[in-house]
Symmetry: C2
Subunit: 334 residues, 2 copies
Amino acid sequence: MRIVLDAMGTDDAPRIEVTGAIEALREYESDVELILVGDREVIDAELARHEVVPNRISVHHAPDRVQADDSPASVIRTKPNSSIVVGLELQRKRDADAFVSAGSTGAVMATSLFKLRPLPGVDRPAIGTLLPTAEEQCLLVDAGANIDCKPQHLVQFAHLGNIYAREIMGRPKPRIALLNIGKEPGKGDELSAAAYEVLKNEDSLNFVGNLEGRDIIEGICDVVVCDGFVGNVLLKFYESVAQFIVGLIKTELGALTENALDFDHIFRILDYSETGGAPLLGVGGVSVICHGGSSSKAIRNAIRVAAQAVRSDMVVQTANRLSKSISNAPEEVS
Amino acid sequence: MRIVLDAMGTDDAPRIEVTGAIEALREYESDVELILVGDREVIDAELARHEVVPNRISVHHAPDRVQADDSPASVIRTKPNSSIVVGLELQRKRDADAFVSAGSTGAVMATSLFKLRPLPGVDRPAIGTLLPTAEEQCLLVDAGANIDCKPQHLVQFAHLGNIYAREIMGRPKPRIALLNIGKEPGKGDELSAAAYEVLKNEDSLNFVGNLEGRDIIEGICDVVVCDGFVGNVLLKFYESVAQFIVGLIKTELGALTENALDFDHIFRILDYSETGGAPLLGVGGVSVICHGGSSSKAIRNAIRVAAQAVRSDMVVQTANRLSKSISNAPEEVS
């Protein structure tokens, strides 16, 4: 399979991307080829700094780079030669199977929607993000793609998350929960109360009901459904708290580095880059979004997520399941 | 001053409340008298277990107890002899100056609204909660009292938080921020975008703009304004994450208790009970809400918060400021 990696996305591009790409090919199965998209001269210079470069890496030239202040929706028109637009066009033409980028989330999303199109039955593709918990990771949908949602959008997020959790995360019967301010049915704002009423009757979902903020960390469900405003606030808060606490611990341990204390697993749980790579769910292709501040490890993980999505035929699976499961949902709610 | 403490609120009532009350009187200034409200026989038995009970503690009998499944809005009618209703009635009659309870948040709020009435200019009283940050604590308003808010409600929360931060938290010119999914003006859902437009023109506020989830922990503002849905999810999530991480560290340190490692300040930062006691802002009295799972330390802190509010004449200050500052706000937004 061929995976496009936008080489110009991170704050420290293309150094991080090139390192992540080389590490990924060293670590993962040999059926993956990587196409680095971006300024060829800059990427080649970066590749030259590595002693051994796997021959499964190639470079595709795209001279432009999307900047933070570019309007996401206009990028496709204003920056047609940017790594994001060129990279996703490769997938549209079927010259590649997946796209990974740490560039502007808005631009990746808008361009993915245009190039890959939403799947039938999906009004609003959503971002799924894995959250570390005390048990297994859980998928938060939507992590920030959609604000001002209607109940049927939350229902669609639940179905998209359900399929992803089963096909990619390997959870046989994903437990789907609705993020809310109380456990009881009927709790919450108008949006979540109405979504609950639909979700509880969706036979194709293992809907386990409302989930409060305090329950997320316990890992008692596989998919947490919420609108993108709450999801975005929560996700960014989680990352910062984890970093903050890891920082506190590290400072405290500073004088003790010789000590045999093994805090590795704490750091692993709190290390967001372990989970790097958030899939855009509900489009007719594979598009994986990373943070601008990603490490090479996060890029490597995102490539793994993209490869899993291609290998499991996620898009076709999603389209098939969607046509069975949510065909009626949008009409059931206003 | 006389502060009513609902003795029947915590999960382990009245043991926690009695201990917290005795500790508070030992620690704080002598102008505070505490009235424990609840089942006299049970409270007296608990008091008898303490060798020394300050004479500034008295008991006021209230035989009923509000349960988790009581409808909050009906408690005033269905449980007129409950500790919550009796306790707040003491303040309404001016037999007490403040009320502290770890009972049902909904019941305390509904009964406070009825007995103490909202201040003029306040459509929806809000819960303010102190969040630990890397710098000083910041106040989150609303932490869960109001869902489905309109822009003018967020503007009112900003004013209520502003007055509390100045008068009680001692911040001379509180920095007020709007919780949002991006820093730029115009970002966010309809609610926050509209609230931003009003807040930026409020001359009596030091409005510092939008704040993302990741910025909260940095402590770069004094008041974070959001609707009660987001605030509730965020608050509960924060508490659970902090507990979770403290648990991880403690497990890791288990074998090392003899070690001189000083993690005290980490635990203190993450220990939510340090900040116990969330004031209900915008009512014509002092009503401080604690968690059902509060420790005696949290109860002690809540009593301190209530005493500060009485001492600084918070209600009169708030009413005066409100009449100047938000008289026009509600008309400015739809």
